[in-house]
């Protein structure tokens, strides 16, 4: 068995390999394999897996790539994520990808799908429209059509039909994946010192660049290790981070928050991997319908998701209680309309529930964390002293 350090080291390398070498190697190692890149937040990866595809999360260039040409495509008041992705598309990073999916989370990502269309990058470039109607016979039917379009795109490349058994098998694998991830979060809820938030982040981010089978093995190994006591508990407060679901915070920011005295016991960094809450039925004669029903009934809360009738502020409070957290950190990418327009409402919910909170903004390539560290440190101290 590898040591935890070995696993985390490998996960970090995978997570920030902007050449996606492991995914490209996977494609080379077999016939009729396709690589499908997807942007935050969520796509039903099961359908891609079931037709011999590898869904690969493209979370941006972060602070790992110099943006030279990408800036020429975006005005200063647009978030950083798309300029990094354009930079990767203009370089060789995304060569070898067969198609790209752009989930319906904001106008920037939507229009980025059009920029990929104009550039004719990959065989297909598809905006994946989430229904905002949650009646299975209306929005659900629309969602099924959206999934079928992806399958048609892939079929046109590798001619692999969708078979019920194969999709059920894929659903099973991703159910395992989500269960393992959730279990790690559950262990961390009680023993956050056993695996840091940054290590957890590496593990999850690595998972979107490799086959799910491989990721499940990695998660299982980590689970086995952190099920035993390790590390040393610190006198830290426990926080939930929200608002970072799309453009990812730099690793240094996550580390700074923890170093400032805040155990991050839940977050929305890699929300797509945790989008569906609980298992999806894996023995159905209509597995696409099972995926649809899971989307309609089991989605987590997010700023990209219409929430009238199921307010996300209330769901955030529930999460804080579930994780026994002391406070909330609203951490949003600059110019992120969805997160920033939600923030005042969610802050109000926190205030009404008596939950302390702070907020700040970042870019994926933010390089200075001193102010954030001081802010998080003061937040931690104030809770420890006065709460």
């Amino acid at each position: 068995m590898d040591t935890l350090n070995d696993i985390i080291k490998r996960a970090e390398a995978l997570a920030f390999d902007l050449q996606f070498s492991a995914a490209k190697k996977w494609k080379q190692d077999g016939e009729h394999r396709v690589l499908v890149g997807y942007l935050p937040i969520y796509v039903p990866r099961e359908i891609i897996h079931a037709v011999n595809g590898l869904p690969v999360g493209i979370m941006g260039a972060g602070d790992r790539k110099q943006i030279i040409r990408g800036d020429a495509y975006y005005q200063s008041y647009i978030c950083h994520l798309p300029r990094g992705i354009i930079e990767m598309a203009l370089d060789s990073n995304l060569d070898g990808f067969d198609g790209f999916l752009f989930p319906a989370i904001c106008d920037c990502v939507r229009n980025l799908s059009g920029m990929f269309k104009l550039s004719q990058k990959g065989h297909f470039q598809r905006y994946f429209d989430y229904p905002q109607n949650f009646d299975p016979s209306i929005g659900g039917a629309f969602y099924m059509q959206e999934m079928e379009k992806i399958l048609e795109d892939i079929y046109a490349i590798n001619h692999q039909p969708l078979l019920t058994e194969r999709l059920n098998a894929s659903i099973r694998l991703y159910n395992t994946n989500r269960r393992l991830i959730e279990n790690i979060y559950n262990i961390r809820q009680h023993y956050p010192w056993r695996l840091s938030a940054l290590e957890t982040y590496y593990l999850l981010r690595a998972g979107i660049t490799i086959p799910v089978e491989e990721h499940n093995a990695m998660l299982q190994e980590v689970t086995d290790i952190i099920s035993e006591e390790r590390g040393e508990a610190m006198d830290n407060i426990r926080v939930v981070i929200t608002g970072s679901f799309c453009e990812q915070p730099p690793a240094g920011l996550i580390k700074s928050i923890e170093m400032a005295g805040c155990y991050i016991v839940d977050d929305d960094f890699m929300l797509g991997s945790r989008w569906i809450q609980g298992d999806i039925r894996d023995d159905s004669d209509e597995p696409l319908k099972a995926l649809m029903e899971a989307y309609i009934h089991q989605s987590t809360f997010s700023s990209a998701y219409y929430d009238v009738g199921n307010p996300k502020g209330k769901r955030l409070i529930d999460l804080v209680y579930k994780r026994n957290a002391d406070g909330v950190i609203f951490s949003a990418a600059s110019f992120c309309d969805p997160a920033l327009l939600d923030r005042p409402l969610m802050q109000k919910e926190c205030e009404e529930a008596g939950i302390p909170h702070i907020n700040f903004q970042y870019h994926e390539n933010t390089g200075q964390f001193k102010v954030i560290k001081e802010q998080a440190g003061t937040f931690s101290d104030s809770i420890k002293l006065w709460a």
């Binding site: 109607n133 920033l340 327009l341």
Partner: protein, 433 residues
């Protein structure tokens, strides 16, 4: 800066002013008169459907732009920022929330009624969704009807998409309207209104396409925003809208016959040195100053994308009385910001060519990612496809902090000098533009 003189207006502008004054007066008396009020958005609006229930529509983005033109938006935005709204987010939303915090006084100085229904026609702008989630909290208990308009991902409107929207109309939107209005849906009445819609749409297209003439009798951006006012808002489907567009078309025809240019706030534009196509919304806080930079330099806008946010009628769409709900669905999906980027580029390319434009200019709006994200690529594509010189300026919708007069004027002056030079070179070389 000296106060501008009273603007010179076309007859149709005065007619429009009267229509709007009546609309806002009706709104101020809505509660008193037992009229139900529906807040909704301009792109993908369901005006005929709302009017068929005898309800009154309110368009928050129109209130915001009116607040911008009346120099009130700056304070409203600051009030919303004090509540925690980031400086980074859409200023229409902040202006609307600020206006509400300050008593919800409309552009005519009369108080706007609170909504009885929030109709979220989610078309072409993700922020609409967030906006109404915020309004839902600010008006607790008011029902929200969501109409999700699928994006034209593949550059076309499919039957499945139409069916999806019709189903939402039948099972989500109309039942909620029936409940609020206290009456049943009357499809015949809706169809009858659509006849008026189609008539007004025909006339609007004639007006906008008159700019293909040289000289152009209209400015299709600065004056264009007035021309689209009635049809993009509370009047589509009414006889008043048909009257307004008949009068407007008559005026435009007269100007064409006399070889006259557009009417600017300072009178008829005499010299048209540059014909431009403009992409992006205008700035509202300094609208008149902004327009003046153009007409002072002899630049007339012959086509614009902003005048298509409430419907791209020049591509042939008309509301169809024979299929009223399907027609509403197609209308929503056809709006400019619901078109994918290749479609937008294709439309703008067509405008540059068909309207014989000398240049293509983008006014990039800080607040509006639906327009702004991707504009720099659009600009390159248009330059490559048409050879037209391109220009790029930045401002905001209603945040006065983001309108820098000197910067914009300098950029435009340089751009027009470049266009002028190009014309000289082309004429010297005997090339066609």
């Amino acid at each position: 800066m000296a106060e501008p003189k009273d603007a010179i207006k076309e007859k149709s502008m005065n007619l429009q002013k009267e229509m709007l004054a009546k609309q806002f007066h009706d709104l101020s008396k809505a509660t008193e008169n037992g009229r139900k009020v529906v807040y909704t958005f301009v792109p993908g609006n369901l005006t005929e459907l709302i009017l068929s229930f005898d309800m009154l529509p309110v368009y928050p983005e129109i209130n915001a732009l009116q607040s911008g033109m009346r120099k009130k938006s700056g304070d409203y935005i600051k009030d919303a920022e004090k509540m925690g709204y980031s400086e980074d987010v859409c200023t229409y939303v902040k202006c609307d929330i600020g206006m509400m915090l300050n008593g919800n006084i409309g552009p005519t100085g009369e108080k706007l009624p609170p909504p009885d229904l929030l109709l979220l026609s989610y078309t072409g702008c993700f922020t609409f969704l967030k906006w109404f989630e915020n309004l839902e909290r600010l008006y607790p208990g008011v029902p929200v009807a969501m109409l999700h308009t699928p994006y034209q991902e593949d550059g076309k409107i499919t039957k499945d998409q139409v069916d999806y929207m019709v189903k939402q109309l039948k099972e989500e939107v109309i039942p909620k309207m029936e409940k609020v209005a206290g009456r049943k849906f009357d499809e015949e009445r809706l169809s009858a209104m659509m006849l008026n819609s189609a008539r007004a749409e025909d006339l609007l297209v004639k007006v906008l396409e008159s700019a293909k003439n040289v000289p152009s009798p209209i400015d299709a951006y600065f004056a264009g925003v007035y021309y689209i006012g009635p049809i993009f808002t509370a009047f589509r489907g009414t006889a008043e809208a048909v009257d307004y567009y008949s009068e407007l078309w008559k005026e435009v025809q007269e100007r064409m016959q006399l070889g006259l240019g557009p009417v600017t706030p300072e009178g008829e534009m005499k010299e048209q040195k540059f014909r431009l196509v403009v992409e992006g919304p205008p700035n509202w806080t300094n609208f008149r100053e902004f327009w003046k930079i153009f007409y002072d330099m002899g630049a007339v806008i012959v086509a614009s994308s902003y005048t298509k946010v409430g419907g791209v009628y020049d591509l042939g769409f008309r509301h169809d009385p024979a299929e009223p709900l399907e027609s509403l669905a197609r209308y929503c999906m056809g709006c400019y910001t619901n078109m994918n980027l290749p479609q937008r580029v294709g439309l703008l390319e067509k405008y540059v060519k068909e309207y014989k434009a000398d240049g293509f200019l983008i006014n990039s709006i800080k607040s509006c990612n639906s327009f702004s994200a991707g504009q720099l690529m659009i600009m390159r594509e248009i330059e490559q496809r048409t050879g037209a010189p391109v220009g790029f300026i930045e401002s905001d919708l209603v945040d006065p902090r983001y309108f820098s007069y000197a910067n914009i004027k300098n950029r435009l002056e340089s751009y027009f000098q470049m266009l002028e030079q190009r014309k000289i070179i082309i004429s010297q070389e005997g090339l066609s533009v």
